[in-house]
């Protein structure tokens, strides 16, 4: 690469150019079905990044597999389109490797709460500093319509032709119980609300989950835009206290004529995984440090073996 380069410090000295939402357009346009809820999530994240003044190269967007996991390709930042269910594990490694990056994890309900459920639990309890946006459409879309971990009881899908008999997971209460320090729900039909929540999530230090109702217009006819539009109610309008985890869980359990969106729970002062690791205290990202160990260090190690 024969290009002029600047050191990191020189780059940082340059004033940031204010960016617009369209500056976060990826190399290709989304291949989602027309009307897919994920479009609203993409535009909200682009808007939030512009509002926060994040430079694309400072962002790492990581996904698993599924319709919504194609997200990094449509978003202008560093990105990783990893394995089904594994985005949070990859993201934890990446965040530890370079904790100076702003890390987004984007994916769906099957990817995150199904095949990736174990990583969801543990990433939450570790309080890894990242923003996890789940485009929850309560269905498996890319495999053409099977039941998902958030599908309602009795929902008929190709794999449950007589109706699902399994209770769905509640991502909000699950995240709170697992130790997540920022837990929110949004509706992709309300981009302004979602944008605000993303901005809050990025500014929050620690694991932030935003479960977004993102309707699948092709395979989920039960939970479509009108279903949510009639039901969603913002917690902010109710005077909910996000510091009250019990109230948060009570609100999160309500699923009927009213379904709450907004910030359910936030614990502001919890140390992140990186905060608790002295290895990260000094010297910047470990990915950028000099490799190898000093003679003093190796002498000490070998002396202990003698």
């Amino acid at each position: 690469m024969s290009v002029e380069t600047l050191t990191r410090d020189e780059v940082q000295e340059k004033p940031a150019v204010p960016l617009k939402a369209k500056d976060y357009k990826g190399k290709v346009d989304p291949d989602w079905c027309p009307g897919c809820g994920d479009f609203g999530v993409l535009s909200s994240l682009q808007r939030a990044c512009a509002n926060l003044g994040l430079q694309p190269h400072e962002i790492l967007t990581i996904s698993g597999i599924g319709c919504s996991s194609n997200f990094p390709g449509f978003f202008n930042s560093y990105g990783m389109h990893t394995l089904h269910g594994r985005a949070l594990a990859v993201a934890t490694g990446a965040q530890m490797g370079n904790h100076e990056l702003t890390v987004f994890v984007t994916g769906g309900d099957g990817d995150g709460y199904g095949i990736g459920g174990n990583h969801f639990t543990h990433t939450a309890r570790r309080n890894v500093d990242l923003t996890y946006i789940v485009m929850d459409n309560q269905i498996y879309g890319l495999t053409t319509g099977q039941v998902s971990p958030t599908s309602s009881i009795d929902m008929r899908t190709k794999s449950t032709p007589f109706g699902s008999v399994e209770a769905p997971i509640n991502p909000i209460t699950a995240a709170i119980m697992n130790g997540a320090t920022f837990v929110a729900r949004a509706f992709s039909g309300d981009a302004r609300h979602l944008t605000g929540l993303i901005e809050q999530a990025v500014q929050h230090r620690g694991f932030a989950l935003i479960d977004v109702f993102s309707p699948c217009v092709t395979f989920n006819k039960d939970n479509d835009y009108p279903f949510f539009k009639q039901r969603v109610k913002k917690l902010e309008d109710e005077g909910h206290d996000p510091g009250d985890w019990k109230a948060a869980c009570e609100k999160a359990m309500i699923w009927g004529d009213e379904i709450y969106t907004g910030l359910f729970f936030q614990k502001k002062d919890a140390p992140t995984l990186g905060d608790q690791e002295p290895v990260l205290d000094e010297g910047g990202a470990i990915a950028r440090r000099e490799l190898g160990i000093t003679r003093d260090q190796s002498d000490r190690i070998i002396k202990r073996m003698m």
Binding site: E4, G79, V90, L291, I302
Partner: protein, 614 residues
């Protein structure tokens, strides 16, 4: 080994919880400080309390490559050990035991029984571990080694617990020493001393240290025997060395987390055993597809499935060869001993960085949990580091921000060419410079889906057979000539030998001793130890086969996994096989007997009988 060498084997047997590790460590320190070489194998069970543990420590004035065939001294910490192993002891050997609790049975003529009245010697000390320390004193006296060194090491060992504990241990050790002087006939040998003091480690330490020396900054694992020692070493040294160490929820998470850290630019690795590696396999392929350098370590144990968690086997070769779907580029290497494993780590990291692909290390319980002496000067903790084509400097002449967001780009799609950086540029070598996240001017997406040079997916609605073919060939092209970056296997021994023994990985030490023993019998044998599995130096191996009179493959598994692999890659088949799959490693005499049987043509596949049952 020829009789003019100093060659002594001590075994300590007891139940888990009886504290065998401590006297083992103390003895190891005593011998290495005298400059003696050491190889110890601990046969144990997957049990925390109870069961049977049998530590065999062989000491020599020359490098010791395996735990050997015979025992000179047996320490029985319980009746079970006496009952199981007294029959192994021959004339001239010594058997130490607590005569308060253990009855000896009938030894072979010439075995010296050394009963210790532990209660009397320790003023009826109720600490059950005290007999171990008494035995240490006794061992030293039988070997005619001065007591002082034991006092020094016990003091070092127990210092943290206070002077009372030091005094108590030194006191009972002294009692054992003096009691032996008064009651037992010492060995008629002199333990050499004055050699250059050596260090002691096990294979997992060596692997971890090799990683640290190579510049590993991220290590993660899920505990699994016999790989857990790597995690323990890393965890213990993490903060001093600036290594991020994480214990993860499962091996799927481990492999993916290691990949995430590697993508940001860390040298990153993880270790597991066969079952855990099975969970990692999908991620191995993802590292290859995204072209992220990362190292996976599989410390093999007896299987399949949960198998025999505390026993050794070379049974994962085909799992590793088949790890992850379809064709992709990766290195697979089976180090032949602990020091080789140490040296392999920086070499492998340089290779995976250069070729931007995963690397897999195959170890096994024998190497990883064995204890070995090592010349401290042979441990090169500042090896050469080469990170390959990696972009770490930002640029501002090209923007990450899209310029022509509504113009058609190379994909015929509405979008933006952005910075124009091609992460997967279709270069002549197939190697494309890798920009690390955070570097301005190179923002891009890496994908496990098939992708074009710029990282854009070609797997979904844009499927394009020509692009797909181009990218498959680009990745494959990287590996053309990769074999030139690694050493071919080297034949040792006579060129016109009657038998050529071929082994891989951890069997090198035991085969080389069997070769010596056979040559003393007048059977000329040479030895080809194979270390690099992929890429395989097929021509070098074929040359050896072409010139061999009789080829015999030695491996620690049932089906001849290496033989089947060699045949699939080269069409070569061996004349005979020596295989073992009982959980225990080969002993030199078992290979010697195998060669004799194969030469007598009584069988094509010789499976030795394991005399030591633990």
């Amino acid at each position: 080994m020829s009789s003019d060498r100093f060659d002594l084997a001590i075994a300590i047997g007891g139940a888990a919880g009886q504290g065998i590790a401590t006297p083992g460590n103390v003895l190891a320190r005593i011998f290495i400080r005298r400059g003696l070489h050491l190889n110890a194998y601990n046969a144990y069970q997957s049990i925390i309390r109870g069961g049977h543990i049998f530590l065999t420590m062989r000491i020599g004035d020359q490098p010791v490559h395996n735990h050997g065939d015979k025992l000179d001294l047996l320490v029985c910490l319980n009746q079970d050990t006496m009952d199981r192993h007294l029959g192994l002891m021959g004339p001239g050997t010594r058997v130490i035991y607590n005569s308060d609790t253990i009855t000896p049975g009938s030894p072979e003529d010439g075995v010296h029984l050394c009963p210790l009245p532990i209660g009397e010697l320790t003023d009826n000390n109720r600490n059950k571990l005290v007999q171990n320390t008494v035995a240490l004193g006794t061992i030293l006296n039988l070997l005619d080694v001065d007591f002082q060194i034991l006092e020094d090491i016990l003091t070092m060992q127990f210092q943290r617990k206070g002077q009372d504990v030091v005094d108590e241990n030194v006191g009972v050790a002294r009692a054992g020493y003096d009691y032996a002087a008064a009651h037992f006939e010492p060995f008629s040998l002199t333990v050499p001393s004055g050699g250059k003091p050596l260090a002691v480690w096990n294979g997992n330490d060596a692997i971890a240290m090799g990683g640290a020396a190579a510049g590993v900054k991220f290590y993660c694992a899920y505990p699994m025997s016999p790989s857990t020692g790597v995690l323990h070493w890393m965890a213990k040294n993490a903060r001093e060395l600036g290594i991020m160490v994480r214990q993860v929820e499962d091996e799927i998470g481990v492999a993916n987390m290691a990949i995430g850290a590697a993508h940001t630019g860390c040298r990153s690795m993880c270790a597991t055993s066969g079952g855990g590696f099975a969970l990692m396999t999908e991620a191995v392929g993802s590292a290859a597809m995204m072209e992220i350098p990362v190292v996976f370590i599989d410390v093999q144990r007896a299987g399949p499935s949960t198998g025999v968690p505390t026993k050794t086997e070379q049974g994962d070769l085909w799992q590793i060869l088949g790890a992850s779907q379809v064709d992709f580029e990766r290195f697979i290497v089976a180090p032949t001993d602990a020091l080789d494993a140490f040296n392999t780590m920086p070499e492998l990291f340089n290779l995976v960085d250069h070729f931007q692909c995963p690397g897999i290390v195959i170890s096994d319980l024998l190497i990883s949990e064995g204890t070995f002496s090592v010349d401290p000067d042979a441990i090169d903790m500042q090896p050469h580091i080469d990170r390959g084509a990696v972009i770490t400097e930002s640029r501002t002449d090209v923007s990450d921000i899209p310029t022509g967001s509504q113009e058609a780009n190379g994909h015929g799609l509405i979008g933006a060419p952005s910075n124009g950086y091609l992460r997967y540029e279709n270069t002549e070598s197939g190697i494309s410079p890798r920009a690390l996240p955070g570097v301005q001017g190179y923002a891009h997406v890496v994908a496990t889906d098939e992708h074009d040079e710029d990282g854009v997916l070609v797997s979904d609605e844009f499927t394009n057979p020509h692009k797909r073919r181009k990218m498959v060939e680009k990745r494959a092209r990287k590996f053309k000539g990769a074999a030139g970056h690694i050493d071919p296997p080297e034949l040792s021994g006579a060129a016109d030998a009657e038998v050529t023994l071929i082994g891989w990985g951890s069997t090198r030490g035991v085969i080389s001793e069997a070769v010596e023993m056979l040559s003393e019998e007048g059977i000329a044998v040479n030895h080809l130890p194979v270390k690099w599995i992929v890429p395989l130096h097929a021509e070098a191996i074929a040359d050896v086969f072409a010139n061999a009179k009789r080829t015999v493959i030695v491996e620690n598994n049932y089906s001849g996994q290496f033989h089947r692999y060699l045949r699939s890659e080269t069409g070569l088949t061996a004349d005979g096989h020596i295989r073992k799959y009982d959980g225990e490693p080969f002993m030199p005499h078992q290979i010697v007997e195998g060669v004799r049987e194969l030469l007598a043509e009584t069988t094509d596949i010789y499976v030795p009988y394991q005399e030591v049952i633990v």
